[in-house]
C-alpha cells in the first residue's frame, strides 16, 4: 500500500507488440486499407497513377472530399449528422460567387462573409436539433432540400435565368488572397525542380505538376488541427463525451449543447471552405455542386473508423478514409476496366478495403 510507483509491472498485463499499440488507435486503423488499395492499383493501374502528377490528380478530389469528411467526422463523433453539407457547398459557393462576381467584393470581404454566412446556417441547424430534440438526420435533411432549392433560386436570380454562374476566375484575378484558396502552391519550387529534371515535364517542357494544389495543403492542415483538438484539448474531450452519451456528459458538466452547435458551425464552415476552393478553381458554380457530397463525406468518415452512433472515431481516420475513397474513384479510371463495371469495382474495393482493415486490426490487437 505504500508503493507509489505507478510503473510497477502488473502481472495482469501481457506484453503488447508495438503494432498492436498502433492499431488500437482509431487514427491508424484506416492505414491498412490505404496500403491495400495502393497495392491493388500498383498492380492494375497505369503507372501514370503513381507519378507525381498522378498523385496530385487523385489527391485533389480526395482533399476536397476530405475537408468535408473531417468536419463530418467531428460532428459524428459528437453524436450528430449533417446531411446538408453537400447542399451547403452549392449554396455557400453561390453566395461566394455572388459576392465576387455580382457585387464585386474583394476576397478579404467575400471569404469571411461566406464563412459567416455558412456558419449561421450551421448554427441554425444545430439550434433546431438541440431545441426540438429531433434527430439531426431529419433536421439537416430538410436543409439538404432547402439549401439545394435556394441555390437554384439564387442562381436563377443572380444570372437572370441560368443555372450556372460564371466569371469568378476573372473577378478574383490578381486579388492578393486568391493564391491562398486557388491554384497551386509552391509553383516556383516546382518550376525549378522541373528545370533541374526532378519533376516530369510535358513534351513542351512545362512541368507536369505546376505545384501542390492548395486544397491538399488545407486538407493536411485541417486534419492536423482537428486531430490536435480531438486528442489534446478539453474541447476534444467534450466532443467525445457529447457523442458517447449525451446525458452522462451533461450530468458530468459538459456543455453538451454548446459543443454540438459549435460542431454544426464547424461542419458548415468546412463546406464553405470547399465551396470557395472549388468555385475559385472552376471559375463558375452551378446548382448541382456538392451533390451527394454529404453522403461521400460520411462514407469517408465511416471508412476511417467513425461510429455512426457517435462517441468514437478520429480525424486522421477520416483523412485516410477520404484518401481511400478518392484513390479508388480516380484510380479506377487509370485501369483498363470497362466503365460499365465502374460501380461494381468501386463497391467491391470499398468493401474489401474496410474488411481488410478490420481483419488486420482484430488480428493485431488480439480481439476476437
Amino acid at each position: 500500500m505504500t508503493d507509489t510507483s505507478q510503473l510497477v509491472v502488473d502481472e495482469r498485463l501481457k506484453p503488447e507488440s508495438f503494432g498492436a499499440k498502433l492499431m488500437k488507435r482509431p487514427e491508424l486503423g484506416a492505414i491498412a486499407g490505404v496500403i491495400l488499395v495502393v497495392i491493388f492499383f500498383a498492380i492494375t493501374a497505369d503507372p501514370a497513377m503513381f507519378t507525381l502528377s498522378g498523385f496530385m490528380n487523385f489527391m485533389t478530389p480526395a482533399a476536397q472530399l476530405g475537408i468535408l469528411a473531417i468536419g463530418a467526422a467531428l460532428l459524428m463523433i459528437g453524436g450528430e449528422f449533417d446531411l446538408s453539407i453537400g447542399s451547403m457547398v452549392a449554396f455557400s459557393g453561390l453566395f461566394f460567387a455572388v459576392c465576387t462576381v455580382t457585387w464585386g467584393f474583394p476576397l478579404i470581404i467575400a471569404i469571411p462573409a461566406t464563412f459567416i454566412f455558412a456558419g449561421c446556417f450551421g448554427a441554425l441547424n444545430g439550434t433546431i436539433v438541440i431545441h426540438s430534440g429531433l434527430p439531426s438526420f431529419i433536421v439537416t435533411l430538410a436543409f439538404l432540400f432547402i439549401l439545394r432549392g435556394l441555390s437554384l433560386v439564387g442562381l436563377k436570380w443572380a444570372t437572370g435565368g441560368s443555372t450556372q454562374l460564371r466569371g469568378v476566375r476573372e473577378a478574383v484575378e490578381g486579388d492578393f488572397l486568391a493564391p491562398l484558396f486557388s491554384g497551386d502552391a509552391f509553383q516556383g519550387l516546382f518550376a525549378s525542380l522541373a528545370n533541374a529534371g526532378l519533376v516530369e515535364t510535358f513534351k513542351n517542357g512545362t512541368p507536369k505538376v505546376p505545384g501542390i494544389p492548395v486544397e491538399i495543403i488545407w486538407f493536411v492542415l485541417i486534419a492536423l488541427l482537428a486531430t490536435y483538438i480531438l486528442l489534446k484539448t478539453p474541447a476534444g474531450n467534450w466532443i467525445f463525451a457529447a457523442g458517447g452519451d449525451k446525458n452522462a456528459a451533461a450530468n458530468s458538466g459538459v456543455p453538451v449543447n454548446r459543443v454540438k452547435v459549435s460542431l454544426f458551425v464547424l461542419t458548415a464552415c468546412c463546406a464553405a471552405m470547399v465551396a470557395i476552393i472549388t468555385v475559385m478553381d472552376a471559375g463558375s458554380t452551378d446548382a448541382r455542386r456538392g451533390f451527394q457530397k454529404e453522403f461521400e463525406a460520411i462514407i469517408a468518415a465511416v471508412i476511417g473508423g467513425c461510429l455512426l452512433t457517435g462517441g468514437y472515431g478520429s480525424a486522421i481516420g477520416a483523412f485516410f478514409g477520404a484518401i481511400i475513397f478518392g484513390m479508388v474513384v480516380i484510380g479506377l479510371t487509370y485501369t483498363n476496366f470497362d466503365q460499365d463495371w465502374f460501380q461494381v469495382f468501386l463497391g467491391a474495393m470499398l468493401l474489401i478495403a474496410v474488411l481488410f482493415n478490420n481483419a488486420i486490426r482484430k488480428r493485431v490487437t488480439g480481439e476476437r
Binding site: T206, A282, G283, F291, V329, Y334, D340
Partner: protein
C-alpha cells in the same frame, strides 16, 4: 492508339450509354484502345479531375464534352498544351475552338430544345411543361431554356427525380391542376417520356407529348399516336465519329476541317417505326 473519352453523363444514363456504344463500335472498327469515363453525377469539379487524370496518361487523343467551359477550360487547355489532340463532343460547340479543340461533334442542347419548341408550337401547343429529371444539370437546363424560347408561349419547368412512378404522378398532378396545359416536353425518353405518355393518357385529355432522345417504348407511342415526336441528336455519332477522327489522326494525321453537326433530328410517326429496333439495341 490510346484514346480517352470523358463525358459528363454516366454510363447508366440512357443517352450516354448510346454514346458509349458508339465509342465502342469505333474502337472495334479502328482497333484503337479506347476508354470511356464519366463522373458519378453531373459534377463539373469531378469531371475536370477526370480530364486531368486522362491527360496524365498522355493518350493519343481525347474527346470531351464541355457543359461548363469555365470549370473544364483549364483542364482542356492543359491537355492541348501537353500536345494531346482534343475533340469536343455533345456540348460546348461555342467554346470548342477557343479552348483549342480541333473540332466539335454534336448538337447544341439549346438549339435542339429550340427546334423542338418550334415544332410543338407549330403543332398547336399553347401552354407547356418541361419535365426535368435532373435540375441543375446544365445540359438539361439548356434543353428547357431552348424549348421555352422556341415554343414562344408560357412554360413551366417541372422538377422530378429519376423515378418513373413519381414522374407519372407529378405530370398527372400538373395536368389535373391546370386544364390549360396541352404540351409536355420530356428531357429523356425512357425516364421522363414514357411516364409522361402514361400520365397524359390517364388524364383523359388531349396532350402533346414530345421527348428528347429515344427509347423503344416511346417510339412505339409515337407510332401509336400517343406522342408527337422525339428529338434525336444521333449521339451514337458523337462517340463514333470523335473516336474515329482521333484514331485516324493518330495514325495518319488526318482531321476534318470543320465541326460535325449530329442533330437535331425530329423523329415523327413516319420514321419512328424504323428506329425502334435500333433503339432497343442502344444505337439510336
Amino acid at each position: 492508339a490510346d484514346i480517352i473519352v470523358v463525358a459528363h453523363g454516366q454510363a447508366n444514363d440512357p443517352f450516354w450509354s448510346v454514346v458509349k456504344n458508339g465509342v465502342e463500335k469505333a474502337a472495334e472498327h479502328t482497333g484503337a484502345n479506347v476508354e470511356f469515363r464519366a463522373p458519378e453525377t453531373f459534377d463539373m469539379v469531378a469531371m475536370s479531375q477526370l480530364i486531368d487524370a486522362a491527360v496524365n496518361q498522355e493518350p493519343d487523343g481525347l474527346a470531351v464534352s464541355i457543359p461548363d467551359a469555365d470549370a473544364l477550360g483549364p483542364s482542356i487547355e492543359r491537355a492541348v498544351a501537353a500536345g494531346i489532340p482534343v475533340i469536343s463532343i455533345n456540348s460546348g460547340s461555342d467554346v470548342s475552338k477557343s479552348l483549342g479543340a480541333l473540332l466539335h461533334v454534336g448538337q447544341d442542347e439549346f438549339d435542339a430544345g429550340k427546334a423542338a419548341g418550334e415544332k410543338l408550337a407549330e403543332l398547336g401547343g399553347t401552354k407547356g411543361i418541361c419535365v426535368n429529371q435532373e435540375v441543375g444539370n446544365v445540359a438539361l437546363d439548356l434543353r428547357c431554356e431552348g424549348f421555352a424560347e422556341g415554343f414562344g408561349n408560357e412554360i413551366t419547368v417541372l422538377p422530378t427525380t429519376n423515378d418513373p412512378t413519381e414522374i407519372e404522378s407529378k405530370v398527372r398532378a400538373a395536368l389535373d391542376s391546370d386544364p390549360d396545359i396541352d404540351t409536355v416536353m420530356a428531357l429523356g425518353a425512357s425516364t421522363a417520356g414514357e411516364p409522361s405518355v402514361a400520365a397524359a393518357k390517364a388524364s383523359g385529355r388531349d396532350v402533346l407529348v414530345a421527348s428528347f432522345d429515344l427509347s423503344a417504348p416511346f417510339l412505339q407511342s409515337i407510332v401509336d399516336g400517343d406522342a408527337a415526336f422525339a428529338i434525336d441528336q444521333q449521339q451514337f455519332l458523337q462517340g463514333y465519329m470523335a473516336v474515329n477522327f482521333l484514331a485516324l489522326n493518330a495514325e495518319y494525321g488526318l482531321m476534318p476541317g470543320g465541326n460535325v453537326p449530329s442533330g437535331p433530328n425530329l423523329i415523327t410517326a413516319e420514321k419512328a417505326g424504323q428506329v425502334i429496333d435500333l433503339s432497343a439495341q442502344g444505337i439510336r
